[in-house]
Subunit: 240 residues, 2 copies
């Protein structure tokens, strides 16, 4: 059976301007691979209503799950929650359960629960809250879209809350062979191997470092015996 | 006048599976910001013909320039050149100019210019070659799409060849103020500032590290005097 699929939307001008280097994509990609959910596409979009709504609408229709990162804080540029609600035509306002969580948090801290902070309690009708053990302000899941914070520590904690609730597939097994020859010498035999084992995914990732060049050949599949067989054949073709 | 816009397509299962961490996006984002071209969207797609053609078609219509990274080597999974040709309905085959470059290179190296390596001379009709000083196999520009290699050293060299040929806009000026207060305390006054200076982009990027938390407020715009004025006002609101 085919694995469930996923996509991701990274929201933030700070990534597109080169100010910040995103790390949430790499984290999510690794975690999804472990549980057998295939990440098919990632889109990085700016803090722009039309761009976010359009990405959510497109990807929610194309993949089983959509994960978003960024834009759910208290400031004026945090518009993700409203955009996700709009994409599904859901009503959004301050919701009691989220409000109560935040009110208790700021009371414990002795800090004012002001209008800006109350914005973080804006949750679409019908959404399920995602726990935020780091800084309390929750994410939420609406339909098949999981809305999470952009700060890496919070994003990672939310991913850890969400993933156990999803049905995974067969984990993708992967083996890697490093071959110190030009890809041009590897390509012919490799194409023949890919044709023979067309139930597997066989990728070639060239490297070039300190004058040494070659490629990492990665063989991926759900059937461990098939991956083993293809890898043995590859190793015979290119003895170290 | 509005700046030219750009988008990027990163091609590669190795990024989506979490095996490799992409660095080309961050590099391109920084370089485009320097020359005043606004990066609007990045899509990471798998080594899949339909996914690549569909991303090229969509983004070539939406932004002034499209940059691709990955999938132009000699192996069976390198399908980017064919997909970009297909997106524009262009004929693609081994082209003499690219063939000559590669033939000379492999002759100098004393290596066989075999069928796999000849694949790297597949260039769509009407495309302009992009120089590859690192490993010779060229990229190409077709219409408004710049097709470049995924290996970071080669990608960066190709970006350096291409950018001087493009018309940039007014470089985006940016100033940053680090404020060690919760975003919830900053948000109210910041929203008022954003409304007053609505010709500027004002973003808030929270951080949390070693128990210290706060936000970096970044003010961006093309008019240096306006950015200065907004930043002075922000600094008055939140004295260190």
């Amino acid at each position: 059976m085919a694995n469930p699929t996923a996509s991701m939307i990274v929201i933030g001008d700070e990534i597109l301007s080169g100010r910040t280097r995103d790390s949430n994509m790499h984290h999510l990609a690794k975690e999804l691979t472990k549980v057998g959910i295939d990440l098919r596409e990632v889109r990085v979009v700016s803090d722009d209503r039309e761009a976010i709504v359009s990405a959510v609408t497109a990807l929610a229709a194309e993949t089983t799950h959509v994960f978003t990162s960024g834009g759910i804080g208290p400031t004026h540029d945090d518009i993700t929650a409203d955009c996700v609600a709009a994409a599904f035509g859901a009503h959004i306002d301050i919701r009691e359960d989220a409000y109560a969580l935040l009110a208790a948090h700021y009371e414990r801290q002795g800090a004012e629960f002001n209008t800006a902070r109350q914005r973080m309690a804006r949750i679409p009708d019908g959404a399920v809250l995602i726990e935020n053990p780091v800084s309390i302000a929750p994410g939420f899941a609406l339909e098949n879209v999981y809305v999470m914070a952009g700060v890496p520590a919070v994003f990672e904690a939310m991913v850890a809350s969400v993933l156990p609730t999803l049905t995974g597939g067969a984990p993708l097994l992967s083996q890697n062979l490093r071959i110190e020859r030009g890809e041009g010498e590897i390509a012919g035999p490799l194409a023949a191997l890919a044709t023979e084992y067309n139930d597997l995914s066989i990728g070639s990732y060239p490297f070039q470092k300190n004058g040494i060049y070659g490629a990492n050949i990665v063989i991926r599949g759900q059937d461990g015996a098939r991956v083993d067989a293809a890898m043995s054949k590859l190793a015979e073709m290119f003895p170290a």
